[in-house]
């Protein structure tokens, strides 16, 4: 009997062997910090990582921190991704080319024109490099207003002004064991040790860590990923007694800042009594349907169903007869011809509404 092996080209065998050799050679033990990077809880008494971000006596920014925070974080999480695989500026995971869930601060990869409608309603991902982010949670260091922070108020009050939004206000760079090292209560809002005001949601017991970490997204509509936004029944923020909080509580987290955006079911028809945030789209209607057409739709992930956390490339039309880009901010700014600001929405114009209602 003839030997069959020469039928396989020698070069193929060589390549196969070489590939195998490389796989072996290039595999390495996963690093100890593969999860939270340098943001690990409990550094211990011999911690040395502090020096990466803090100078003991020659710090240049509060608190004893190297200059402006976004630049510090971008030293690792910037487009060069020189100290992490997570590039939040271009919204890309540099180790696998995937998109990031938060969108991006300069470019984002949300397919803001995805045509799917209920029952699927997927929101796809753009291939890298994505498109410029027109709307962001701006971390430039300029003082801004946290829209809606404060108790329901019959006197027009758009929120807390002069707040300096920064990466470290939402995230705990030291690591706190929470999902995406998010702080349970944003930094810089309350003075040290002050009790939580009644209008702020109680985050005790909420947010868990995700292990192993998953960063890429394949569908921006799917925010029901695992259980980091933990389900629990908590006393609600605001005056409305609410017994329906059973979904994932992204909404609660966002409303530690935007407190008056928290709206229980039926809030579109019932006045909250607030001068500005009077009628509000529900942000916590676990298991509610959209009144007919689309059938039951869970709003789990509430705020993040409609918004991206960092920045969105969605556009909002301005100009004669166009509405979306002309909606004024809660303090009345950006009126007239409109700013074109898409408010971190995940779809162009108000396409996001159609993802559930399909009117």
């Amino acid at each position: 009997m003839r030997i069959l092996w020469p039928a396989v080209p020698v070069w193929l065998v060589a390549v196969a062997l070489a590939v195998m050799a490389f796989v072996v050679m290039s595999s390495g033990a996963p690093s100890a910090q593969a999860d939270n990077g340098p943001h690990i809880k409990g550094w211990g008494a011999t911690a040395d990582g502090c020096a990466a971000c803090h100078r003991a006596h020659r710090g240049q920014a509060e608190p004893n921190l190297v200059q402006d925070q976004a630049s510090l974080c971008a030293s690792c999480h910037g487009p060069a991704a020189a100290g992490s695989s997570l590039d939040v500026i271009d919204g890309t995971n540099k180790s696998d080319g995937g998109a990031l869930r938060g969108g991006g601060f300069t470019n984002a990869r949300i397919n803001t024109a995805d045509p799917s409608l209920p029952p699927s309603s997927a929101i796809g991902v753009l291939a890298a490099p994505g498109l410029p982010a027109g709307s962001t949670h701006s971390v430039s260091g300029t003082p801004q207003t946290i829209w809606g922070y404060g108790a329901i108020n019959a006197v027009a009050d758009p929120g807390k002004s002069s707040f300096n939004l920064a990466c470290g206000k939402c995230h705990d760079p030291h690591g706190d064991g929470n999902y995406r090292v998010l702080r349970k209560v944003p930094a810089g809002l309350l003075s040290y040790g002050a009790p939580l005001p009644a209008f702020m949601p109680d985050m005790t017991g909420l947010l868990t860590d995700e292990s192993p970490k998953v960063y890429s997204t394949t569908n921006y509509w799917d925010v029901s990923y695992t259980d980091q936004w933990q389900a629990a029944i908590q006393s609600p923020p605001g005056p409305v007694a609410d017994t329906e909080i059973t979904g994932r509580q992204v909404g609660k987290w966002c409303t530690t800042c935007h407190t008056r955006y928290w709206a229980s079911t039926g809030s579109a028809d019932a006045s909250s009594g607030d001068a500005i945030f009077k009628f509000r789209h529900t942000t916590n209607p676990a298991g509610r349907d959209t009144h007919g057409r689309a059938g039951p739709v869970t709003l789990s992930g509430s705020c993040l169903k409609c918004h991206a956390a960092h920045g969105s490339n969605a556009t909002a039309a301005t100009g004669v007869g166009m509405y979306s880009g002309s909606v004024e901010q809660p303090d009345g700014s950006h009126t007239g011809n409109g700013s074109g600001d898409s408010r971190l929405l995940r779809m162009d114009n108000r396409g996001i509404c159609q993802k559930c209602h399909n009117k």
Binding site: S26, S27, R55, S75, A82, G130
Partner: protein
Amino acid sequence: MTATAWPQPEGPPGRTSRMPGWAKLVVVLIVLAALGWVVLLGTQYLKTGKPISELPGAQIPGLAGQGEQYRSSVFGVAQPLGVAVGRDGRMYVTESAGQRMVRIFDPQGHPLSSFAPPNTTANGRVPVYIAVSPQGDVYVTDRANDALDVFSADGAFLRAFDPAEVRLLRLVGAWHPMGVAFDKDGNLYVTDVSADKHRVLVFDPSGTLKLTFGSQGTDEGKFWYPNGLAVDDRGRIWVADGNNGRVQAFDAHGKFLTAIARGFAKGDLAMPRGVAIDGNNHLFVADTSAHTVKVYDISGDRPEFLRDLGEAGTGDGQFRFPNGVAFSGGRLYVTDRENGRVQTWSD
């Protein structure tokens, strides 16, 4: 301002001018505004066009003869990261914001031209580190495309650096080049930050992979986001181990020799990124979050800290997140990322 400049018809004695008080105030204000405008224009001019050779630089008084002094800066680069100098003294700088080009400047600091990885748009590329081969070709890593591209000295795209081994590495997702450097023999050194496989790859001048060392971790000899690297006269390889906050030295076979560690003491590092070596056994380390360039004497077996160049700030000789360093022709070049410029220092 002298009062005689104003017409003085007859007036009460003792008064030099009949202008009412408010009018004088207006004149003074206008003059002040004009002066302010001139000063502003002047600084604008300094920020944009002044060539290196014409700028005296801010000599720090009392330090002459004590090491490198700030000389001047080249502006007009958006968040620059890497810098290298060509054989004819031309400077190449990579940008990580704006157009994300590689910009070429002549030795006097005048912009010559710019180039970018082929078939990319501004937001689809991130040129990071850069090195010039002994032949004068320009090697640029592109973090967005996991590429190491080779250009001519004038910026014409020649080829992607992808010998067979690199193609295979790519296939298994193990090619994420970051820092690049050449030794005097033309061997190419690359830091790689592939997931869980942070390490150094060494290619001979023909492009054959001849050495790989290091793995991801915090122990001696391991790396956590290695960035820039440089090879000294003795063939030792100095690698900025970014997230571990140290610079490690290896012999030509990749054996760990010594390290400069992270800490709060003088000479300790914070977040080292670019490294360069001059002809006198000086190692320069751009310490990004400490906003300085640290200088060490590496003539012995253990590096000895000499001095910090610069401090945090936006003024002459001050840095905001310095990232890349290059040494050539007696000059030290430092990319000053958040200040959008490249500083030059020299003895």
